[in-house]
């Protein structure tokens, strides 16, 4: 019963989002996580940048997360907590609330920075792949995060290779300006998810080695920044928790901010 309500609520929310897409204002979606996060009082402020979360379909990979899929993982606490850091640490005019967009409308073109979590469970349609490709070629930037091990990598590839069948996915060189645009992140560590509390392991599944990979455009600019075998989303979400190590949260914040500023400068 609860699941049905969630699905119906999501559908209503999606419809409302589509209706107001041109207005590009904040809309709240059901919170699947346990924590309760209040809507900030200035959530509707019009700003230059907002944390834009991609609402994607999970298709046959949705079983773990239920029908709504994996896109709202860590939502909305990670989003709202991270933007507080962006506000405090940079001069970017930042909205206190996130913006959720999908690939079924053109609203995505109002948000040139895009984040998706758990892309090891996504399943884009061909139309969505085409929209994503067009978005990136026009100058959009896509950061994906929180997927681990060979199986999830394979699922990720299944969609992203339909977005860019002929562009290689490569490791980002430590000298790339994306690691230095604000913070020097030539030296990096693997950022674990919340499971670190229970297991003491910083890796998940068989993803023991973190990778910072990318798909570049023809001019050598990162279009897709792939955070593989790491969980920056959890680090943002639990940065305020005493059990989550500060050094991982700090790197996640710095990495996220670097990716935003890179997207706004390259």
């Amino acid at each position: 019963m609860r699941r049905r309500l969630l699905i119906c609520g999501s559908l209503v929310a999606i419809s409302v989002t589509a209706l107001f897409a041109l207005q590009a204002t904040f809309r709240e979606f059901p919170n699947l996580e346990d924590d309760h996060i209040p809507v900030p009082p200035d959530a509707y402020e019009r700003t230059e940048w907002a944390f834009t979360r991609l609402m994607y379909p999970s298709g046959r990979h949705a079983s773990v997360f239920g029908a709504i899929g994996s896109w709202p993982t860590d939502y909305p606490k990670a989003d709202r907590q991270f933007v507080q850091g962006v506000r405090r640490l940079t001069r970017i005019h930042t909205r206190s609330s996130e913006q959720v967009v999908d690939l079924d409308t053109d609203e995505i073109f109002n948000w040139p920075w895009l984040y998706a979590v758990e892309v090891g469970h996504w399943s884009l349609t061909d139309a969505e792949c085409a929209k994503m490709r067009e978005y990136l070629l026009r100058g959009g930037f896509f950061m994906c995060d929180d997927f681990h091990g060979r199986d999830e990598w394979a699922v990720f590839l299944e969609s992203i290779q339909r977005v860019f069948p002929d562009r290689p996915i490569v490791e980002i060189d430590n000298q790339d300006s994306i690691f230095h645009v604000l913070y020097d992140l030539g030296e990096r560590v693997q950022v674990p998810g919340i499971q670190y509390w229970y297991t003491g392991r910083i890796w998940e599944k068989d993803g023991k080695t973190p990778h910072w990979r990318a798909i570049y455009d023809d001019d050598g600019r990162v279009m897709v920044a792939i955070c593989f075998n790491q969980d920056n989303g959890d680090a943002w979400e639990w940065a305020d928790h005493p059990r989550y190590p500060e050094r991982y949260a700090s790197q996640a914040y710095r990495m996220g901010i670097n990716y935003i500023i890179y997207a706004m400068t390259h």
Binding site: L22, R46, T47, E48, W49, L89, T90, R91, I92, H93, D106, F109, N110, P112, E134, L137, R138, G139, G140, V181, L182, D219, I260, I261, A263, M264, T265, H266
Partner: protein, 749 residues
């Protein structure tokens, strides 16, 4: 008829002055007239008989006028006039011998018409009274003995120069008058005021005889083609082509620009009324770097009489330099990213940016020297003036020190750079610009209040000036360009910037929903440079909301940035007033020399190294212009036709200050193809200004009689009686006859 009535030619009355030869004072004449009038009034009143009303008064008026006329004749009226003494004066006869005189009209060339006028009567009539010196002239006069020596083959006509030379040559002779036979088709742009003044000082009348039709039958002629002397590679340029046509009104013609024979742009235009100058812009791409000779032409139409005046050549220096623009941005934002991308796609620009990412950090991009401006926005002129353009984004005015604000103003004023102010939440009125020296630089009067930045999606629209502007030209055809802009996505935000200042040009307006339209893109010239405001930071939506293959966003920004820097001078700035020399050899080279702070350098050594068309080279030193600090000029002779490249190098104390390139071209055999109709206006003006008269070929026979009246040369003053003019007799007859007729009608005879 005039001469029959008044006994003398009109020239006598024009040039002489009226005198009364009678010995009695004039007041006696006036007194006599009054006394006669009074006496007649008494007489008419007393003997009016049956006359009533105004009739006695009419009779009195006629009789008084008759008495006044008779008294006037008693005072012996006459004209005093200076007359050339026979056989003691020289008359110079100049015959235009340029190629335009070979044009056939009515079965004869203009030259043979002139020869006929001279041989039939003029030369012999003049020869009876004066010593006649016969010249032919084109660029300069040459003495000839007979009209058979006329060839009508000189490549150019220089009326002013030729007159000056004849006057100089005859400075020791009693030159009484000049007779000029020409079609007035001068190739030097007219006769200089100095020449006219010199002629007037010597009181030499220049009588002109015009040949040729004043309007051609069927012809299109390019009057002028104006395009910039310099350009950046791959720039969109506009050639303003002015032409005039006769006989083709309403028809269509094709304008073209050719580079090395290849058409780089063409446009069909509809021809307006006969004889009316018509100007049309023609857009083309400058192409790759290097000196270019462009041919601007209008395709010949069927039946055109003269096809040689359908094209002109112009030179263009497509520069190899890569202008640098400094972009100071106060906060990360999407506009910054997409402006950078547009600049990076332009091989002819270098965009160096300073971005405040955090309160204390600045992210530098686009610099080739890792130490340049490492401390942020420059505070020294030589650091800022090393750039050609400046973009100021969302930066508060008080972020800049007073020194930096003064420097920004001098960047446009003294350095001659272009400054673009962008909209944003810390920009313009929001950034406190209205109370800073930056307000003076803006082409708009910004509001003094805040709350002028709005994050509302808004449409934009070109103004009429914007439709014609190269900055906003996405498509060459103006109508299609306007239609293209009408389909552009909305901008994401805008600033209310108030109204444009006088002299500023509003190119684009923003149309916010529910509010009045307001300027968005405004430009103006400031000092030696130029400034612009683009009151939004939301044009990035033109990129994100159009297909990834669409280039309109990049094109617009590249054109806007090129506008900022295209005319920014270097430390040495070379120029020439005439880059194309039609049948001319003298070229004037000019250079302005400045130091790194762009202050004029008065003590530089400036030299031009000139490469000729045949590969040979020579040098000429440019000397300082006394009244203009930092300016240097030199005159040089282009010996051979073709294109020349002059590299001007300036130095001081063994240090090179800078260099610049000037291109010019000598063209032979083209000048006489243009302005082939008779320039009656010029010939008449020359005659009027010098005290001469204009004659057509048919009434030139009057000239020998009228030419004698001149103040120049050796003259004698003659007094010519007026009392025996037939007009006086007729006037007396009229007065008496009128009285007699009236008296008969009124029955008092």
């Amino acid at each position: 008829m005039f001469e029959f009535l008044f006994k003398y030619p009109g020239a006598v009355f024009e040039k002489g002055h009226f005198v009364l030869l009678g010995g009695w004072p004039f007041w006696i004449f006036a007194l006599g007239v009054i006394a006669a009038a009074a006496l007649l009034l008494w007489h008419v009143r007393r003997h009016r008989g049956p006359l009533t009303g105004a009739r006695p008064l009419v009779i009195w008026l006629l009789e008084t006028a008759m008495i006044a006329l008779l008294l006037f004749l008693l005072w012996h009226p006459a004209i005093s006039i200076a007359t050339l003494r026979p056989q003691q004066n020289v008359v110079a006869v100049l015959v235009d011998d340029s190629r335009s005189m070979a044009i056939q009209e009515g079965g004869q060339t203009r030259s043979s018409q002139a020869a006929r006028v001279l041989d039939r009567k003029l030369l012999s009539a003049l020869g009876q009274k004066f010593q006649v010196r016969l010249y032919r002239f084109g660029s300069q006069p040459e003495r000839i003995q007979k009209t058979a020596q006329l060839t009508a083959s000189e490549p150019a006509t220089r009326l002013g120069d030729s007159l000056e030379q004849v006057l100089a040559e005859s400075s020791t002779l009693p030159l009484g008058a000049v007779v000029l036979l020409s079609d007035g088709a001068d190739n030097s742009g007219g006769i200089g005021l100095d020449t006219i003044s010199q002629i007037r000082q010597r009181r030499i009348p220049v009588h002109t005889i015009g040949f040729g039709r004043e309007k051609p039958g069927k012809d299109i002629e390019i009057v002028e083609a104006v395009l910039p002397a310099h350009s950046l590679a791959d720039s969109r340029l506009s050639a303003l082509v002015t032409f005039r046509q006769y006989g083709y009104a309403g028809q269509k013609a094709l304008l073209s620009v050719r580079d090395a024979g290849k058409v780089v742009a063409s446009r069909e235009v509809q021809l307006r009324a006969d004889g009316v100058p018509q100007s049309e812009p023609l857009l083309f791409n400058a192409g790759l770097a290097g000196p270019k000779t462009l041919e601007i032409s209008v395709d010949p139409l069927p039946g055109e009489e003269n096809r040689d005046n359908n094209s002109v050549r112009r030179v263009l220096d497509v520069e190899t330099r890569k202008p640098r623009i400094l972009y100071m941005e106060g906060e990360p934002r999407w506009e910054f990213k997409f402006i950078r991308r547009a600049a990076e796609d332009d091989r002819s620009l270098q965009l160096c940016s300073l971005l405040r990412t955090t309160q204390y950090r600045i992210y530098r991009q686009g610099f080739t020297d890792e130490h340049e401006l490492a401390d942020g926005f420059p505070s020294k002129p030589e650091e800022l003036f090393a750039f050609d353009g400046l973009i100021i984004g969302s930066v508060e005015a008080n972020y800049f020190t007073q020194t930096q604000q003064d420097l920004i103003r001098e960047f446009a004023n003294r350095r001659g750079g272009g400054i673009l102010f962008l909209g944003g939440r810390f920009a313009l009125a929001e950034g406190g610009y209205s109370h800073s020296p930056l307000a003076e630089l803006l082409p708009v009067r910004i509001p003094e209040t805040k709350g002028t930045f709005h994050r509302d999606f808004s449409s934009e629209e070109l103004t009429p000036q914007g439709r014609a502007s190269l900055i906003c030209r996405l498509v060459e055809d103006p109508e299609r360009n306007a239609a293209r802009w009408a389909k552009m996505p909305q901008v994401a935000n805008y600033n209310d910037v108030g109204d444009p200042k006088p002299g500023a040009v509003d190119l684009m307006d923003v149309l916010p929903a529910g509010r009045h339209r307001m300027p968005m893109l405004v430009t103006e010239n400031y000092g030696r440079g130029r400034t612009a405001v683009f009151a939004t930071s939301g044009s990035w939506r033109w990129r994100m909301w159009q297909d990834h293959t669409d280039t309109t966003h990049a094109t617009f920004w590249q054109q806007l940035m090129r506008y900022l820097v295209s005319d920014s001078p270097g430390l040495v700035s070379g120029s020439t007033p005439r880059a194309v020399l039609p049948d001319e050899t003298k070229v004037l080279l000019r250079a302005e020399v400045r130091d790194k702070a762009f202050k004029a350098v008065p003590n530089a050594v400036v030299e031009a190294h000139i490469s000729a068309p045949d590969g040979s080279s020579s040098s000429v030193e440019l000397t300082p212009v006394p009244s203009e600090e930092g300016a240097y000029t030199a005159e040089w002779n282009a010996e051979k036709p073709g294109s020349y490249v002059a590299e001007i190098v300036a130095g001081r104390d063994k240090e090179e200050l800078g260099r610049d390139v000037v291109i010019f071209r000598r063209e032979d055999g083209v000048a006489e193809n243009f302005h082939t109709a008779q320039n009656r206006e010029l010939l008449k003006k020359l005659a009027d200004e010098t005290g001469g008269r204009y004659y057509s070929a048919s009434d030139a026979g009057r000239l020998p009689d009228e030419i004698s009246y001149s103040e120049a040369g050796i003259t004698t003053r003659e007094t010519k009686d007026l009392w025996d003019m037939p007009a006086v007799f007729l006037l007396a007859l009229l007065l008496r006859g009128s009285e007699w007729v009236l008296r008969r009608r009124w029955g008092v005879v």
